[in-house]
């Protein structure tokens, strides 16, 4: 604490706020300029401290909270990642129904094509797009493919007539998109379903 140099901005602030006292600064007794500056700062601090914010009407606060609530309602759920949004009710409805439709479609194709060929079976020669998909699968050995086993387990007791009666989703819908998933995408969907069912103690 020097008594030969004018006070710094920080030292003035400490004085104005009462963190230090004038007795800590012998320079003040000898310097009229610093004393005047200190007095001005205290005057302005006092003037600013008397400024209140006009209190709005009591109704304002209820309306304010309502407006914030409405604005927030349009936002995605705070902190929700894509997985949480995917699995949150009723967000589950669309993908679950799409999965159900996909299972029915796959089961329908599955049953229409007959028994699953064993590993090492030769390729089918039908010209249908469903058959083309089966050709790829049979090369890898369907019995060893977890995706097909999963679907087979789900559709074991499914009536083909019931599957055939299921209405197909219109173009652009989530159900339509699911029925056009590739094998890798179906495998990913299967893994997600299994994780959710086993992880939640179903």
């Amino acid at each position: 604490m020097t008594d030969t140099h004018h006070l710094t901005a920080g030292e003035f602030v400490d004085l104005v706020e009462g963190a230090t006292s004038e007795g800590d600064w012998p320079h003040l007794a000898a310097c009229a300029s610093c004393r005047r500056q200190l007095a001005d700062l205290r005057e302005m601090q006092e003037a600013a401290s008397r400024i209140d914010v006009p209190e709005p009407s009591p109704l304002f606060w209820n309306h304010f909270s309502s407006r914030v609530r409405e604005a927030v309602a349009d936002e995605p759920v705070a902190g929700a990642g894509w997985r949480r949004r995917f699995w949150s009710w009723p967000g589950m409805l669309a993908p679950l129904s799409a999965v159900a439709a996909a299972v029915l479609v796959v089961a329908g194709v599955f049953n229409a094509r007959g028994p699953v060929p064993h590993a090492g079976a030769t390729k089918q020669t039908s010209g249908s797009s469903a058959a083309s998909t089966l050709e790829l699968l049979s090369d890898s050995g369907v019995d060893d493919d977890a995706s097909w086993k999963f679907v087979a387990d789900l559709t074991d007791s499914l009536d083909w007539d019931a599957a055939a009666d299921a209405s197909f989703a219109p173009d652009g819908s989530a159900e339509h998109a699911v029925t056009h998933l590739s094998l890798s995408e179906l495998q990913q969907l299967q893994r997600l379903l299994q994780e959710e069912l086993s992880g939640k103690g179903a």
Binding site: A9, G10, F12, V13, D14, V16, Q37, D40, L41, E43, M44, Q45, A47, A48, S49, R50, I51, D52, V53, P54, E55, P56, F60, W61, F64, S65, R67, V68, R69, A71, V72, E75, V77, A78, G79, A80, W87, S88, W89, M92, E196, L197, K200, G201, A202
Partner: protein, 203 residues
């Protein structure tokens, strides 16, 4: 499976008795726990954060713009941004300080774009009945002049003065909020008071 569904069901679908218990439980939570509850999707958690902090946030915004309409809009924007940024709240500061930091940024962006739109003296309120009319009017005029002068301060000086004087934030908290140092905060406060003097003398 039932427990999974219970986890995903929003609380608004719960039976009324459980909903009342949930509301009572929320009010007992501190601010950090309310943030966690909001992130977990608990209905009413963010409403409670708004209710607890709406007045000081509004007051902070008002001190920047010195009029009710803009202060109300700014304060609403502060809470909307806070909601969007809930997942970024790390608990290293209080929720109040975090909200003030958002408010400072929102207000500085607004005043940089528009400049202060101060209210006329007639819109001041709450005259002290024990004062004479002339004293009350002088007091209001003086207050309006000081308020206008604060609104004309450079942004960081204005922010520092508002946060220090009206929201009792420490120098370190202000430094964190404004992205500066304690020394810079004190310097800004010093210059803010000095400039107030110049503005009032010039007025």
């Amino acid at each position: 499976m039932a427990s999974s569904l219970a986890w995903t069901l929003p609380t608004t679908w719960m039976p009324a008795a459980e909903q009342r218990l949930t509301d009572a439980g929320l009010s007992e939570l501190d601010d950090s726990a309310l943030v966690a509850a909001s992130l977990a999707g608990r209905a009413g958690a963010f409403d409670l954060i708004v209710e607890r902090h709406r007045r000081p946030v509004y007051q902070l915004c008002y001190r920047y713009v010195a009029n009710h309409e803009d202060a109300s809009d700014l304060a609403q924007d502060v809470f909307l941004r806070a909601y969007r940024g809930l997942k970024n709240f790390r608990g290293q500061s209080s929720v109040a300080t975090w909200l003030y930091r958002i408010a400072v940024n929102v207000c500085l962006n607004r005043v940089t774009a528009k400049g202060p739109q101060t209210e006329s003296i007639d819109e001041s309120q709450f005259v002290d009945a024990s004062e004479s009319a002339s004293d009350a009017m002088l007091k209001q005029e003086r207050a309006a002049r000081v308020r206008d002068a604060i609104a004309q301060l450079p942004p960081k000086q204005r922010s520092t003065l508002i946060l220090r004087m009206y929201h009792e934030m420490s120098h370190q908290e202000i430094a964190d909020a404004l992205g500066s140092s304690v020394g810079a905060v004190k310097a800004n406060f010093f210059h803010a008071l000095g400039n107030l003097k110049k503005l009032l003398e010039h007025d």
